[in-house]
């Protein structure tokens, strides 16, 4: 039996190999399907979550690597979609299909925690997640809006 802390709650996992990627634990064992699969090899960022506050790709993070760290997923980013990043995403109508957007928002939220005045170069560097629908210009705009709110 293994314990894992997700969104402030401890969960007990039975019969799960500790080499299992966090992504599939969240999705298939805990029913938290907000975190998405896109590549499985840390190339797309769709599976991005926060581990002890930092953006991490859950597809390449095993259960044993998580240990007793605090995992936050989109379901725990805010209770009601009120995180500045979520609000900015709505304000700019960022999503098209929406599939990549959870990962995008988790990446943005982590970046903005450390840096509330990101330059374009900072955004290019931190926001490497793939959006196949091509919402990048709006993501950039939304990140800047969220940053502004966080600076207030």
């Amino acid at each position: 039996m293994t314990r894992i802390n997700v969104n402030g709650e401890a969960h007990e996992l039975v019969d799960v190999a500790d080499t299992t990627p966090l992504l599939w634990i969240l999705r298939d064992h805990l029913g938290l399907t907000g975190t998405k699969y896109g590549c499985g090899v840390s190339e797309c960022g769709a599976c991005t979550v926060h581990i002890d506050g930092a953006a991490r790709q859950s597809c390449v993070t095993t259960l044993s690597e998580v240990g007793d760290a605090q995992v936050v997923t989109i379901e725990g980013l805010s209770a009601d979609g009120s995180h500045p990043v979520q609000k900015a995403w709505k304000q700019h109508s960022v999503p098209q299909c929406g599939y990549c957007q959870v990962g995008q928002m988790m990446a943005a939220a982590a970046m903005l925690r450390d840096n509330t005045s990101p330059s374009d170069a900072d955004i290019d560097e931190s926001m490497w997640n793939i959006c196949r629908c091509g919402t990048y210009p709006r993501i950039r705009a939304a990140v800047k809006t969220a940053a502004q709110e966080l600076r207030k």
Partner: protein, 784 residues
């Protein structure tokens, strides 16, 4: 070369038909006569609707109690409940265009419904609803008038009901924001309070309906947030990969690495021992041609996706590759070029091209090629199936829940595999994590159904990214040969063009060996330029992979060639490319599609003319917005490129600005696109589509390539099938939508086609290097 048939030139065929009053006429709703609506709704209540309440916290799946059989349902697409709630069916699939919001708003507008009281109900697959293949940029075009008519039917009946209740003339009653108002007395009554009476009324004949005039539109042409926006930003939105049925297993499948291959032998001993693995199930290969059937292979079914995946990777399989086992795309690309160099099958001609090319002083030749491309939808193909059988193994019920662009194709294909009628297959549609044409092909749904039938419990199939890239329905590899002549006045006197690529029809037709007319018409045979001597041909090519349609389809290669070649001609003539293209388009006129043998996507050319004036208009606007004239003064390493086209009945022009460092590093700081797709329903979503189209086209132009060796796709994930990220996507995309009252045309794919030629023309302007073979990653763009 065979002698060209004498055909009229474009000039001779110009026509100016009277445009019919299309947008003021309701469309026939004949399905109402043949279907008992109440029966239909009662039927749908029995678990067949996927309800996703707008603004509700969680999407609700098929709750029978949610559909009130006592509601007023005057049309398949709309029902009104006693509490005033209006349910509108969204029967097209949401994959990022905003159609689940857009089409219902058209109906709501005509109904005068208050959008806050509208719930969107995602329809199951049902041919009574009409075309559900969310593909071909057709949704608004096909259903704009249907939605308005449905809304007008309901509104008219509510007005009549109010008139009856008040004992006044119906002409004095009108609907306004969820209520009917009596003009003379200012009495008001809400929609919900009228449905008792409305239900007893005859459905009015469509010729008795009056549609709202354009200036009264409240929602059409006005933006609203996506109905799924809250769910998306909170992670609650349900896609195919998230679909769950009680007690389901998760499957990951090893498929033959070569199309047409089979399992020779396999050993699942190691896989069986893995924790979570429940069952190993061999899947047969498709019968006959691939169509939308399963590829076959060995499925591992387990208690979680990861266990199934681990199990799949632990299988040892020996494959029989079949006839495509020697397919090598590099060799094939050369063969296509050789074919394009030889005379082909003539599809359209004017004048005497052979003679004109022979007599010309300046003849330009160029060969273009585009490799196989993959869809790489952000969400891979995923579906869950629940198939029940009787004691004899005969299928009794089959339920599919899938991210599909085409639920009716799921019904048909799964129905065939399950030996049941397609209409008896219940197909519910989740959101799609994009699709781009891949999810119109339901092979993955057939896999899920076969596994569920075998295991007698629901089975969810997930394609890994590697599966997705290796077993796609790939965009065709192509070669296009162009020859053209310009005279001393800088006019194009002759144009010969030959397009060679495997046809999509090879999926379903054994004898297919060359591009079909409808494929050629995507940028090739519908060449708009006013050229006196013209030969447009296609050449033979067989398909060795599953060739499918990808956003913008054959416009990808054909408009790349046409848009770059005319730029080459402009430079040969020593003229400014923008002025040259504008002149080459000739007089404002409408092409006579019938005389030119063009099908116009089966659209009535009186409603959807090929209007050169509109094409020139977007070209001028894009050039103006980009301040085109600065092109001649830009320093080396910077350049503008321009291209235009008509695709999916809409018109676009792109100007792309590039910067290329002396070392050959490319960036795309700005893009301008002007688009005329007639009447627009959701302006912000059109902007978003055009932005995304430029970025997708940039991805494909720069890196897009799937190669094959020994019949096997060589790319398998985003490390080797690269797509644009934030840092390398076009930075600033300026979208300009032409205000128009014309009938609504395509948008989603329309934004793609003229981007790539404009990009490559810009690279030429910046570096003097011509790009004729995509992708750009193979080219050294450095300069000194």
């Amino acid at each position: 070369m065979s002698h060209p048939r004498k055909q009229p030139t474009l000039r001779e065929t110009s026509v100016r038909p009277e445009p019919p009053d299309y947008l003021n006429r309701p469309v026939p709703r004949h399905d109402l006569c043949t279907l008992s609506r109440r029966h239909f709704l009662a039927g749908t209540a029995a678990g067949s609707l996927l309800l996703m309440g707008k603004g509700s916290a969680t999407p609700a799946f098929a709750d029978p109690n949610r559909v009130d059989v006592e509601s007023f349902a005057p049309d398949l697409f709309v029902s009104i409940n006693t509490d005033g709630r209006v349910d509108i069916l969204a029967h097209r699939s949401e994959m990022g265009t905003g159609i689940r919001t857009g089409l219902p708003r058209v109906l709501a507008d005509e109904l005068e419904a208050d959008w806050e009281q509208v719930h969107i109900v995602q329809a199951k697959g049902d041919k009574n609803l009409g075309d559900q293949n969310t593909d071909g940029s057709n949704s608004i075009r096909f259903f704009f008038q249907t939605m308005r008519t449905a809304g007008a039917i309901a509104r008219t009946m509510l007005e009549t009901a109010a008139a009856q209740q008040w004992g006044v003339d119906v002409s004095t009653c009108f609907a306004d924001t969820h209520q009917i108002i009596h003009r003379d007395s200012d009495r008001r009554i809400g929609f919900g309070a009228l449905i008792e009476i409305a239900r007893t009324l005859e459905v009015p004949a469509v010729d008795k309906l009056r549609l709202k005039p354009r200036e009264k539109w409240k929602y059409i042409g006005k933006d609203a947030p996506l109905v799924d926006l809250d769910d998306i930003v909170t992670g609650k939105a349900i896609y195919g990969i998230d679909a769950r049925l009680d007690n389901q297993l998760f499957a990951v499948i090893a498929r033959p690495p070569v199309v047409g291959g089979r399992v020779k032998s396999f050993d699942a001993t190691a896989a069986r021992k893995l924790p979570g693995v429940v069952e190993i199930v061999p899947l047969p290969r498709y019968r006959g041609l691939p169509e939308f059937q399963q590829l076959g292979g060995i499925a591992v079914c387990a208690t979680s996706t990861w266990s199934a995946w681990q199990g799949r990777d632990a299988l040892t399989i020996e494959w029989d590759d079949g006839p495509n086992g020697s397919y090598d795309s590099q060799t094939f690309a050369k063969a296509l070029k050789a074919t394009a160099a030889r005379p082909g099958t003539l599809l359209r001609a004017a004048g005497d091209t052979e003679a004109a090319l022979e007599d010309a002083n300046r003849v330009i030749q160029a060969n273009y090629s585009v490799p196989h491309l993959a869809h790489a939808s952000m969400e891979t193909t995923c579906a869950v199936a629940d198939v029940k059988t009787d004691n004899s193994g005969r299928v009794t019920t089959c339920h599919i829940l899938a991210a599909t662009q085409n639920p009716q194709a799921v019904q048909e294909t799964v129905g065939r595999a399950m030996r049941m009628r397609g209409e008896d297959v219940l197909v519910n549609v989740t959101l799609l994590g994009s699709g781009f044409g891949r999810k119109s092909k339901p092979d993955y749904c057939v896999e899920a159904a076969r596994l569920s039938r075998e295991l007698k419990r629901p089975v969810h199939v997930t394609w890994t990214r590697e599966d997705d890239l290796r077993h796609d329905y790939f965009h065709a590899i192509s070669a296009i040969h162009c020859e053209g002549a310009v005279n001393d006045k800088g006019q194009i006197t002759a144009w010969l063009q030959r397009a060679v690529y495997p046809s999509i029809e090879a999926l379903t037709k054994r004898r297919n060996k060359m591009p079909a007319a409808w494929e050629a018409e995507m940028g090739h045979t519908d060449l708009p330029y006013d050229v006196p001597n013209l030969r447009l041909e296609v050449g033979r090519a067989r398909s060795h992979v599953r060739t499918g349609w990808l956003r913008s389809v054959c416009h990808i290669q054909q408009n790349f060639a046409v848009g770059c070649f005319i730029d080459e001609l402009a430079h040969a003539a020593g003229q400014d490319p923008f002025e040259f293209v504008l002149t080459a388009l000739g007089d404002d006129r409408q092409l006579d599609m019938a005389a030119l043998g063009l099908k116009n996507r089966d659209a009535d050319p009186r409603v959807y003319p090929y209007d050169i004036g509109r094409l020139k208009n977007v070209l001028r606007r894009a050039a103006h917005n980009a301040a085109w004239q600065r092109n001649s003064n830009l320093p080396r390493g910077q350049g503008l490129g321009i291209a235009c086209c008509r695709s999916f009945l809409g018109y676009t022009a792109h100007v792309v600005e590039v910067e290329v460092s002396p070392q050959g590093q490319l960036s795309i700081p700005r893009v301008w696109c002007s688009l005329d797709s007639g009447t627009i329903v959701s302006p912000d979503r059109v902007h978003a589509q055009v932005e995304g189209a430029a970025i997708m086209a940039a991805s494909h132009a720069r890196w897009g390539e799937v190669t094959f060796q020994n019949g096997r796709a060589q790319q398998s994930n985003f490390d080797d099938f690269q797509v644009a990220r934030m840092k390398d996507a076009p930075r600033d995309i300026v979208v300009d939508i032409v205000e128009s009252t014309a009938a609504p045309a395509g948008v989603g794919e329309t934004g793609v086609a003229s981007f790539t030629p404009a990009l490559c023309n810009a690279i030429f302007a910046a570096t003097g290097k011509r790009i004729r073979d995509l992708p750009l990653k193979h080219h050294d763009l450095s300069w000194s």
